[in-house]
Structures are given as structure tokens and as C-alpha cells.
Assembly symmetry: C2
Homo-oligomer: 378 residues x 2
Amino acid sequence: MQPSQALDLSGERFVVVYHLTGDAAEADAKARDICLEQTVEFPDELVPDGDIRAHILGRIESLVPLTGARFAARISYAIETAGFELPQLLNLVFGNISLKPGIRLERLELSPRLLQSFSGPRFGRAGLRERLGVPQRPLLCTALKPMGLSPIALAELAYQFALGGIDIVKDDHGLADQPFAPYRERVQRCADAVARANQQTGRACIYMPNVSAPADALFEHARFAKAAGSGGLLIAPGLVGLDTMRRLADDEQIALPLMAHPAFQGSFVASADSGISHYALFGQIARLAGADASIYPNYGGRFSFSHAECNSIVEGTATPMAQIKPIFPTPGGGMSLERVVEMRAGYGDDVIFLIGGGLHKHGPDLVENCRHFLSLVE
Amino acid sequence: MQPSQALDLSGERFVVVYHLTGDAAEADAKARDICLEQTVEFPDELVPDGDIRAHILGRIESLVPLTGARFAARISYAIETAGFELPQLLNLVFGNISLKPGIRLERLELSPRLLQSFSGPRFGRAGLRERLGVPQRPLLCTALKPMGLSPIALAELAYQFALGGIDIVKDDHGLADQPFAPYRERVQRCADAVARANQQTGRACIYMPNVSAPADALFEHARFAKAAGSGGLLIAPGLVGLDTMRRLADDEQIALPLMAHPAFQGSFVASADSGISHYALFGQIARLAGADASIYPNYGGRFSFSHAECNSIVEGTATPMAQIKPIFPTPGGGMSLERVVEMRAGYGDDVIFLIGGGLHKHGPDLVENCRHFLSLVE
């Protein structure tokens, strides 16, 4: 091994908090392993002395016991090792150790200079409220479904939703570019339908088509949506990549609010002992990757997130991260109109309520159902 | 809800095998839920009769008990619902249900017409062997590390590896575009070093730089690598998106062999009761997404995959999938030269052995260590 050269590093480090499973000796071994595995990926005895050992290697800042044979490790990394970009940041904080048991990424504590590399959400809570003309109350969202409807039928639904006072009408995330509802025809019809309703209501409802498309088509789809009059975009970073969402958010020509859908991301939060915390994944990381709203399955619906996990997501959407704006937590998944009052008591006003199928159940008239939904928060 | 129109569907369906946790009633409820959740995402009682209920909805083809309170469900979907593209296929087979407990995607049984939508790996096993001029034995791979070395130091390592007979010299996946080893300088120097060694040895070693870069830079990095003389590319689909890898594989101008790295994908395989099977993720899905080689942590190394899980990956890399070529299983992660004989007995010849840090441990002379590695398989 060549002697290591002197590295021109800033000395700035940032911290990642991991929860480690095991007794004190095991947790210590895991923490030491993370420091190697995530940086030099080299046997300890072969790591060159000098700057590589002193700076490039991860460093255990603290290791403290939690309840139940778990430890919290604060591990710091030189900001340069993250490359000032999202894929390498994700790799550094959780790449290889995602493959090792008993390690859970709990929280990012990114440093100022590293955060300056990211623009985060273009709109955030305040920007999206301004677009919608809704300064204070919870925002209302629903989805166009079921899959299999024609563009005309979907557009009729969009019209009724917008007429009834929904703020954001999004594609169901399973609407892609299938032969029964081709992307361009669907998007144009639905955007037109929402615009027509807005003319009647004086509201500023926005339609968010799903652009979780193949890599060669995604940006073209997004530009088409913008030209068609869509006021935002739905995107599933688990399907297309977190950094693809980040790039979409950063695109100066497209410049539309983004709503992140959690499809294909569930495995990250499936275990209390490994993966990534709800707080970090659906809060901090969604923000870093440019989402203005982060959908997740609400507690008590047809998914399995707990009340505490949902609260932690809310926290992650707004925890201070330098210039990175707070975003909207967007609980959905088997929600019903009957739960809106309870949800508002818990979530307060800075939230988007996403009710899909449940909005069809309240009564036979969809427009009336939407008006009722709105009356519950106004 | 509007009456559903007659849908112009081919009638062709494909099957996904899920393992479901629970007793017979729970497994049945889970299977029925998957059929709704992954397609119409609508309450059962609201699903329109006609083509949507008859064809768009997922269908339970069989549900059979396994040992230990688990069931195997074969669920079929109309091929049109997958949109003939990777992001929507991934969404359809595992999007929302990744967020539900006790559901594991075990195996894809894609139908001929759906498979025709994917090119898969450009080279596959035979194509990569031809490029390397190695018709039969296991291929040898190592990684440039540790992070923190300069491009000059990394290139010197690459030279020694290639001189010693390594077939594939790849970047460590933590090498991005950091200030201490900028992408372009590193790639040019390492590609030159390998070319120089090849001139001396008469071999056809290839250098695979890591292109797991931001979405705006990734293809530019890949084109630069090709122009610099790199013979392949390393990419981590967990960091940049599976469909980004697919697009890279399909690019006619770049047209280089791809090696997939599992960074950030570990959570998918962390639980026996949820997530995606090793077979499907590192075998079938890696192939669909265009990888020519699929890296995974070998059993008995510093990660936690079992021998059986590794064998299932090997199976997934070669199981018949119409025109989609078989690819190389690439076990790595804490491997040593001492294990090569045992590994070859288990893996046979159609495998890439990835030994990183372990190659530095055998003796002080790296070139000699590589020659020894080669002698073990020749």
C-alpha cells in the first residue's frame, strides 16, 4: 500500500445516529465496523496511517445504551466522503450496512456546508400553500382510481373532485402509461377537467399526474404535464430513485411541486432493528431529495405504521435542516371521512389529508362527499 | 362510479409467487388484499364489475401451505397493468405491499410478451467471457480502495492488479467524485493503467469505474468512461434506481458490461417474512434491469447471507427468462484467497470471485497475490 498523501479536507464532519442491536461489546464492534465498512471498506490493519485513518475513516463520537439491548451510536464522517451529492451520501450513511443485521439508521445530523449542496424542496409548505391559495387549514388530497378507467372517466372524476373543493387531485400511483389510460391523453384530459372546475369554483386545485416512468421518459412526461397545465407531479422515489426525484425538483424549467409516494420503500421501515427510521426516510431524506409532500400510510388504516411512527415522520418533515424547507406530511392509506376530525386534532393544520377510496364511500354524490370533506377542515 | 368500458386487453397474464405469513384464514385475506392493493387500490365493494373486476384485478391462482405458518400464493396480473416498463412492473408486483407485514415476493414468472419488453443484460455470461477472453474458468475481480487514495495511487493499484491477472478491476463503490479522487482524473488514469498492463500481459482485463452518480451526471460519466477506455461500469441500482441501470444497459452508444452493486438494497432481504427474496432481487430483477453481473455478500464473509440464500441467487441469475440472458453471480464481501478452492467447488465455473481487502493480505507483493489468485482457478 502506498503511503497516503496529505488530503485537502475541510475538517468539517457530519453525524449519523444509528441504533445498534446487541450487548455493549457487540454494539461497540458494530460501531467500529460501520466506521470501516462505510468508508475505506478495508481491513482495519491495512488502513494507512495519516489522513485516511485520521479523517476518511468514520469516527465514533458516542455510544450510549438504550432500553432493550440496543445502543445509540453517533458516527461522524468527513463531509468530503459524501461527495456533496445524494447517491454517495446515501451510500456513505447506509450503503453496505443495509446488508448487515441489527443496524438501523435513525437520524441524519448534516452539517451546514454539506446541506448547502442540496436545494431540497422547491416549494415546501409555504410555497405549496401559496400555489393553492390555502394559507392555514389542512390540505385535501385524493387519487384518481381505480386502474382500468379510461382517460375520459378519470377526467370526470378529477372534475368532480376539484368541483367539490379538493386541493390536490393526484393520479393513483399505479397509473403509468398503460394502453387503457395512456399517459398523454390522461394527463391532458385530467388537467383540463381540473382547470374547468377551477374556473367554476374560483379555487386553485392542482392535478398531479404520476411521472414514475422509465428513466428515458420521465422528464419528457414531466414537461408534458407542465405544458398541459398540471400544477404538480406525483413521483415514487422507491421506483425511480431518490436522486431522480432530486433532479426533478431541481429542474428550473419544470419547477413544479412534487409529492413523493412510498411505493417499494416499505422494506426500509419493516424492522425496528434494521433499515431506516420513518423519521429519516419519509422526513429528512424525502426533503433532501426534493419532495414538497411525503405520503405515508397513516396509523389505523390498512397499513401497519404506528401512531408514534407517524408522529416521527411529521417531526422529520419539519426538523431544522439549514435552508432545506419543511414539507407536508401526507398521511393516507385506508383513511375515511369519519377520521378527519380525529386526524386534525392529532396532526394540526400543517398536513395533507389523502383520502382515496374512502371518499367514494361516504355517499353516492362525489362532489357532495368532497364538500363534506372540506367542511370538516374549514 | 362510471360503468367500466370494455378494455382492449390481450388476456395474457403473468404470475408472481408471494410467501404469506399467518394461518390459512390470514393468508387468504392477505392474498385477496394483494389482488386489490396492487391494482385497483380500491375497496372491494366499489370495484366496478366488467373488465376491471374480471381482468385488471389481481387473481389468486393458487394458495398452498408451506411449513411454519406460511403460505405460497400464486397471484396473476394482466400484463397490460405492468405497462411494459420496469418502474410500473416493480410497482405492480411489490409497490404498496412493501409497506405491509408478512408478505414476501419470492419469484416472478413473467410471460413471454411481457418479457419481450425488456432487453435485459446486453452481454450476459457469454458476452462478458468473450470480452475478457476467458471461455471457461471463474472470473477474478477486485476493487480499488481504500477511499482517500489519490488517482495516481489508485491507478498504480489497478496496474498491479491487471498485471497479476485479475479479469475485472472495479472502483470501490464508495469512490464517487470526491475532491481527493475526482471522477475524470481517476477514471482516465486507471483505464490507462489497465491498458498498459494489458499490453504487457496480452490479457484483456477491464476496468469498471463506479457511475452511481447524480442523475444529471451519470450518463455523462458513463460516456466519459467509455471514451477513456473503460471496459465496463459499476453501478448500484439501490442508489440510482433499478430503471436507471436498465436505461444504461439499453444505451446503444455506451454499450458496456454492467456490474450491479447491492449497496442500499439490504433492507429488501433483511427479513424472511417480508421484502423480496434473494433469488428475485439479485437474480431475476437484476437481470431484467440489465446487469451482466450481480454482486452480493457471500456466505461466511463479513455479511449475513446464508449458503442457501447465495445458492438461490445463483439460480436466479440463470433461471430461464425467455431471451433475457443469464448473468454472473458475483459473491464478495470479506472473501479471502484461502476460500477460493472451496468456493469454486460450490459455485463451479460460472461465477465472478470478488476479493477486495483480502487480496492485500496474502503477502506483501500485490502482483504475486493476484497471480496466486489466478493459479487457484486456472
